[in-house]
């Protein structure tokens, strides 16, 4: 009988674990492509702001500009809600890096079942990505998953001005 009770407890714990996992996996993880779409849509403005100089402070200062200038301001709000945006600009050579590091994850141990993309964008339009289980910056040697050419950036800018 004692064995039966132990088995019941184990089954109960397994059930709770699996149900919690379903809950965390289905409810707390935002759909994956949204963050990249949001990043791409605001990238030209970030580039412009970076070229103006000032890095993260200017991003913060011009937050309202960023929000008002996009046709879909919710994209940026959503991005800021789930990601830490860090602008690393070098004004002399006009190069820059933007780190988009995910901040919201399910609780341990469920974060190991799901993962979220961490991005690094450079001034050449290379978007690097790795999937992470906890708040981790995308390394410089991560694979390039997307390369935005000048024509694509122009397209995004023209869409914004429509």
């Amino acid at each position: 009988m004692g064995g039966g009770v132990t088995v019941a407890r184990i089954l109960f714990l397994i059930s709770i674990f699996l149900l919690s996992f379903s809950e965390s996996a289905l409810a707390n993880i935002p759909p994956s492509p949204q963050s990249l779409l949001a990043l791409i849509s605001i990238l030209p403005i970030m580039i412009l702001l970076t070229l103006l100089g000032g890095g993260y402070s200017i991003l913060k200062r011009h937050n309202h500009v960023l929000i008002q200038s996009g046709k879909k301001p919710w994209e940026l709000r959503r991005l800021q809600w789930t990601y830490e945006i860090e602008l690393d600009s070098a004004r002399q050579d006009r190069g820059f890096k933007i780190h988009l590091t995910p901040t919201r994850f399910p609780l341990f141990p469920y974060n190991y079942f799901t993962s979220r993309p961490s991005y690094l964008v450079d001034h050449a339009g290379n978007i690097r990505m790795v999937y992470v289980h906890r708040k981790t910056q995308c390394p410089m040697d991560a694979p390039v998953v997307m390369r935005l050419g000048n024509d694509e950036i122009q397209q995004i800018l023209s869409k914004m001005h429509q």
Binding site: A8, S15, Y131, M146
Partner: protein, 199 residues
């Protein structure tokens, strides 16, 4: 004593039922075991010099006279020359247009779909993949787990500033800049590999 035993048995029943329900439903919800039938697909691959953009349309039918939920995972070709695809999205096209939330769980993009009794649903899946060399692959062999051949499949390469050089499935010219092959009663034995060069 008997009443006490009865209470203990009742206490045991709850978790068992919970777990049994989950164990029963898990293979279907996770897409490990198919409930619905995979009947048709139409794949358009836009080939650019440095990347491919894949637009797939898939037709599924619930053969059962009651509603079901089916889990799907999106098979993506990833190796050292082909990084993980991005902008992976899924949308129901018919009977009613609806965006499907795609989630990255246990190293795979996944989504779920509800089917009404005997309902046929057309879904579209899009993604973009960067390519280091001028070659790419579309995974066809994942039709096998559906256990039935496709009634019909159409596969198209749309050349965007490139010239397709080779394909392991014979291609015909469809229209300017597009190459195509059709299959009926198709149970693929190999994935689709193709190469190109920039023009």
């Amino acid at each position: 004593m008997n009443a006490l035993n009865g209470q203990k048995h009742q206490m045991l029943l709850g978790p068992y039922v919970c777990l049994l329900c989950f164990v029963f439903a898990f293979p279907f919800l996770s897409g490990l075991y198919p409930i619905v039938r995979f009947n048709e697909e139409r794949i358009d691959i836009h080939v650019h010099p440095g990347h491919v953009r894949v637009e797939g349309q898939y037709v599924y039918k619930n053969p059962l006279p009651f509603p079901v939920v089916q889990g799907f995972s999106i098979p993506l070709p990833v190796d050292q020359h082909h990084p993980r695809p991005v902008m992976v999205s899924a949308k129901v096209l018919s009977p009613k247009e609806k965006l499907l939330p795609v989630r990255y769980i246990l190293e795979k993009y996944r989504f779920e779909m509800a089917f009404r009794a005997n309902e046929e649903v057309c879904v579209t899946v899009h993604y973009r993949q960067q390519t280091r060399a001028h070659d790419a692959c579309y995974i066809l062999t994942t039709t096998k787990p559906w256990r039935r051949p496709l009634i019909h499949g159409t596969y198209r390469l749309i050349q965007r500033g490139v010239q397709v050089r080779s394909s392991n499935y014979a291609l015909q010219t469809y229209e300017a800049g597009a190459l195509i092959f059709h299959k009926t009663n198709f149970m693929p034995e190999k994935d689709w590999h193709f190469t190109w060069e920039a023009v």
